[in-house]
Amino acid sequence: MSVPPDMQTCQRRFRDAAFIGDDTAAAALWPLIEEAPAVAAARLAVYRRNLMGNLCGALAATYPVVERIVGEDFFKATARAYVRAHPSRSGDLNEYGGAFAEFLATFPPASPLPYLPDVARLEWAVQAVYYAADEPPADLSALACLDSGDDEDLVFRVAGDIARLDSPWPLAELWRVNQPEYDGPLMVDFSLPAQIVVWRWADRVQVEEVTPVSAALFDYLRSGMSLAAAIREVVSVIPDFDPLPEVVRWCHAGWLRGAFLKRH
């Protein structure tokens, strides 16, 4: 069955009037509407308000730290500009706003806050981790039957509900001091870059800063590199780094969910 043309015209003109919202778009809608234009304009305004309000509300729910940093008024104006530039593509509002970080990076009024796009990137990752599929119970039994030398073949499966971010800004600190429950001093050393792991523990999202060398080791393991090869890579750069306590901790925290021996 093809779309009824009259119905489609109604919906297109309604969309244009509600979304673009200029006089031309409204004038094109009025002949299709029962109410007289004088009455209809105020009523169309309700739809325009709902449309904008629903999408801006979705952005505010996903990006509370960005909102806290820039303030409510700035956030609202920014969100409106984003909605106009990025129409929604999903009936699920939780999927709206994935390009907000990129948008902030090119939004001139936000340019005095060059770290803002990375904050948005972090918040999008936090939401993705929050909604990610549940992991099956960890199976690290392969570790128990390791003979010495086996770690050349030992590879890990990293949990799916984990995100990794690198930023030239102190992202974890920015995150921490902008949580609603934080009431310490708002002091952040902006000269410090950050390596972040976003992960889930008992359904709660954790934003954790790790050292550069730990981040490198984790990334190697996640790429499927064997433990021995990954350790060689990081120790060649930082000779006094002791990787095993990190690996053990990651097993306990559930970052590493499976261990198996790669057979040649």
């Binding site: 119905m7 109604c10 109410e35 105020a42 169309l44 709902n50 709206y96 509900d161």
Partner: protein, 287 residues
């Protein structure tokens, strides 16, 4: 509390309320005395994590109504397979007592407006929605309920009143009507029809659920805000709906400026007492 299920859903014929994020912890800690709970399906489209854990815990104690707001049943775009797939996964996971959506469109040319927008009430649009409701029911393997909107604008050149459109959709697809009493009242005021004509236009055996909510007045018209207590004329219309359709599962909707849980529960009790009164009247008449 009468627990007999309505024939179109497995919801008990009693009053229920929406489960909204600010009340998750309270409702799990001390479950209120309400008949059932409703959630917006899309809020539980996650692949895993806390939201589903909460819903599954609540599901152990209450029948659940999954109320969708994003399927665009009347939209010109193809039904989203992804959206429908997520809804199907949620239905399979939760085994809800009812699944509902709206008599509306929200997407055109791939552009989603994330609002419930009015349909042109034409025969061609009815054919179009008929096919889509049937496809959704086929995919979900169950009947759904379709709800009437509040509207502020009406498309001209309608070929039938909205109640005939909704009633015909129900007859053709086997879906049920989710009759929102507040929406009838708001639309009747906004468009100048008699709310009783709407009730009379829906068959007594077509209704599977009723909704109640609060509206606000704007300059010369009413807006359905879900942010207020239910207004007296809506209670009156509700009583008339109960007289026509019998006691039906009734939801108190409150989605903005959400009040404390006990305020909501008090509204649920009020709806319940209207239903109980309706039953007494029926008994007296029968005797």
């Amino acid at each position: 509390m009468n627990r007999t299920a309505s024939c179109m859903t497995d919801l008990p014929r009693s009053a229920g309320m929406g489960l909204r994020a600010p009340h998750h912890a309270d409702i799990l800690a001390s479950p209120p005395d309400v008949g059932w709970l409703e959630v917006h399906s899309e809020n539980f489209f996650a692949a895993g994590g806390e939201t589903l854990r909460v819903l599954e815990a609540v599901r152990e104690r209450f029948p659940i109504s999954l109320h969708g707001v994003g399927l665009s049943l009347g939209g010109g775009d193809a039904l989203s397979d992804r959206h429908l797939g997520k809804l199907k996964a949620l239905v399979d996971r939760i085994d809800p007592a009812a699944v509902s959506e709206h008599l509306c469109w929200s997407s055109v040319d791939g552009h989603v407006l994330n609002d419930l927008l009015p349909m042109p009430c034409t025969r061609a649009a009815l054919d179009w929605m008929d096919a889509r409701v049937s496809r959704v029911q086929e995919r979900l393997g169950r009947t759904i309920l379709v709800e009437n909107l509040s509207s502020y604008l009406r498309f001209a050149r309608a070929e039938m009143p909205e109640w005939d459109f909704l009633s015909a959709l129900t007859r053709r697809t086997g879906c049920g009507v989710l009759l929102d009493i507040n929406n009838i009242y708001v639309s009747a005021c906004n468009h100048g029809f008699d709310a009783r004509d709407y009730l009379a236009g829906i068959g007594v055996d077509q209704v599977g659920e009723l909704h109640l909510a609060g509206f606000e007045a704007e300059d010369g018209f009413l807006v359905d805000t879900h942010s207020r207590p239910i207004q007296p004329p809506v209670w009156t219309l509700y009583a008339e709906a109960l007289a026509r359709f019998g006691p039906q599962p009734t939801l108190i909707e409150w989605d903005h400026e959400i009040p404390a849980l006990d305020v909501l529960v008090a509204e649920v009790r009020q709806a319940q007492s209207w239903m109980d009164r309706c039953r007494e009247v029926a008994h007296v008449r029968a005797a």
